[in-house]
Symmetry: C2
Subunit: 343 residues, 2 copies
């Protein structure tokens, strides 16, 4: 069993280096610019886990010619044909994985669909390397009990394994069976038939994952440092200089069991002040208030200049608002870790 | 009457240059990094329109020492004292404007509050230059009829002018009366007593402003170019490679009269396909579907590889996801305009 983290969460080669040191094999990326970036940092085994389209094939080819063992994915005969045609025209054997739909969440071919074998044959007979199948049970984010998470993890596993078995039964190669999302990776009771697990946001965790039940607030590694810049005393508001530009507009906890607004307020050392949330956000202004009710002592409690930390709803979205991380080492020193921005 | 655009929308010196060429005098910024960036591009007259805190005064001082006619703002006696103390300690006369609350939206002192005169006296008697008053009726975004917009514009004007009159009646200087938001700037029936108007998002417009009623979809200058990467035929979905990383998580039209999901789908030339929206978004995947109902012909209508443009809910938020703009000139040529990222 190997583990291939999704580096779209951090977009940081420093974070990826720690993940590799901890045993990760290869990475998953969400854009070809990420593939270039992580390949330039010495990572060869890269899965680009967004469906390939013809216009991106020259970029994928260039990466392979530079020595990157890039894997691309497809879930349609149209794309599979385009990949095989382009590969043969350029004497390149692309490694292609077929994307499986295990929960109706987004993309992929359902394991029982005829298209699975059609795509498999098109790639294999078209001279490409049919490397395996992958799925992502994105709907696992909608659950919040161990039983439900275990059930969706099993659904994800079974769908992907069944797809692999069907391909193999049809005489097609399917060495890799790759599954994963942070909630299912942390909840699966069985990984029978699976060769690889993927997960992304586990690397930082966030309030959405806290609500799903796979981490505590103490596990959340990412926070936004902010300063109190003013008050509306009658309303019980402190105004901070972290608005949606800093936190992102992600309101992923809105429909979960605890709505954290735009983030959980902590003291500067990172200890949650559990009744205080960022309850509103403009571009560079956040409104800090009690979750419910009016704090009549807001001005004394959080004077102008007070520094606070805000835990994010969604680490991937909040991280993307910043050009770099200020990484705190165990010895208290701080390092600047750059983050990839754009496409 | 002068116009001072808020460059937080574009964060682009190329866009600001066009605004200046069209008559703008000075700019408004939302961070001190923006102030540095636009000052380095040759703009001297800069209003930093987020409440000043002590920790940022050295950065403000450095900008003034470099020749930037930086204006800073405050809405509290605590900050006013800190500014005056720091200014005197460094032999610097900061130009400070007092932020007025004209609609209960966010920050500011209400014109009738005693704090207005206290802050004014603190700055003036403390040796700073009391440059004026400013307000931003951010709640104007909540209205969508000409009558309501005109009313909130008048409320914004009256509050700011009244604050100026009170300061002047108390023997304090108040040369500038600065108001503005895109909806009010475009709706005001009277600007009596006002010396300066500010607005930001008007420079691109977006679907939120379309719903407010101050622009048409044709006026929207910003779009995200995307490609169809797959389908879920039974559901009537096309999957595109613009997810929330490209569109931002801003759902500003959710509570407006037309909910545009994550954006209005247009053909590659930018003509809206009005029944089609981005109805769901993951990090790099967008779900394109009919606003209502299932399009049985989705695969034929938008084959893999089809290029489309998506109009954003909120131009400030969508722009921030990109390192640069691809600006289309009247002659059809495309220029790369970089955008400032981070703080």
């Amino acid at each position: 069993m190997s583990f291939r983290p999704h580096v779209k969460t951090s977009k940081s080669t420093d974070v990826a280096a720690l993940q590799r040191a901890a045993g990760a094999r290869g990475v998953t990326v969400s854009t070809l610019l990420e593939a270039q970036h992580f390949h330039a940092a010495g990572i060869d085994d890269i899965l680009y886990a967004v469906g390939m389209v013809p216009a991106k094939l020259p970029q994928a080819l260039a990466l392979r010619r530079q020595g990157c063992a890039l894997k691309i994915i497809t879930d349609s005969l149209a794309s599979a044909r385009a990949i095989a045609d382009f590969g043969r025209a350029h004497d390149e054997v692309f490694e292609v994985w077929i994307e499986i739909d295990s929960d109706g969440h987004r993309s992929g071919i359902r394991p029982e669909q005829e298209a699975l074998l059609e795509v498999g044959r098109c790639l294999h007979e078209g001279g490409m390397r049919l490397g395996g199948v992958l799925t992502h049970a994105g709907s696992s984010y909608d659950y919040d009990t161990p039983e439900a998470l275990q059930a969706i993890a099993e659904q994800e596993r079974a769908a992907c394994v069944n797809a692999a078995l069907r391909l193999r039964a049809a005489g097609l190669p399917c060495p890799v069976v790759s599954i994963g999302s942070t909630p299912t990776a942390l909840s699966a009771a069985s990984l029978e038939g699976v060769t690889e697990v993927r997960a992304g946001v586990y690397v930082f965790f966030d309030l959405v994952m806290h609500n799903v039940g796979v981490c505590t607030q103490d596990d959340i590694a990412l926070s936004v440092l902010t300063t109190v810049i003013g008050h509306q005393e009658e309303k019980g508001w402190a105004i901070v200089d972290a608005g949606w530009m800093a936190m992102s507009r992600d309101r992923g906890t809105q429909k979960q069991k605890h709505d954290f607004g735009y983030g959980q307020v902590c003291d500067a050392a990172g200890t949650p002040l559990k009744d205080y949330l960022i309850t509103g956000a403009n571009q560079e202004h956040g409104i800090l208030s009690l979750r419910e009710g009016v704090d009549r002592d807001i001005v004394k409690r959080f004077p102008v200049g007070t520094q606070l930390r805000i835990l994010p709803n969604h680490a991937c979205a909040t991280g993307a608002q910043f050009p770099s991380y200020q990484a705190l080492a165990a010895d208290g020193t701080v390092q600047n870790w750059p983050r990839l921005h754009g496409w």
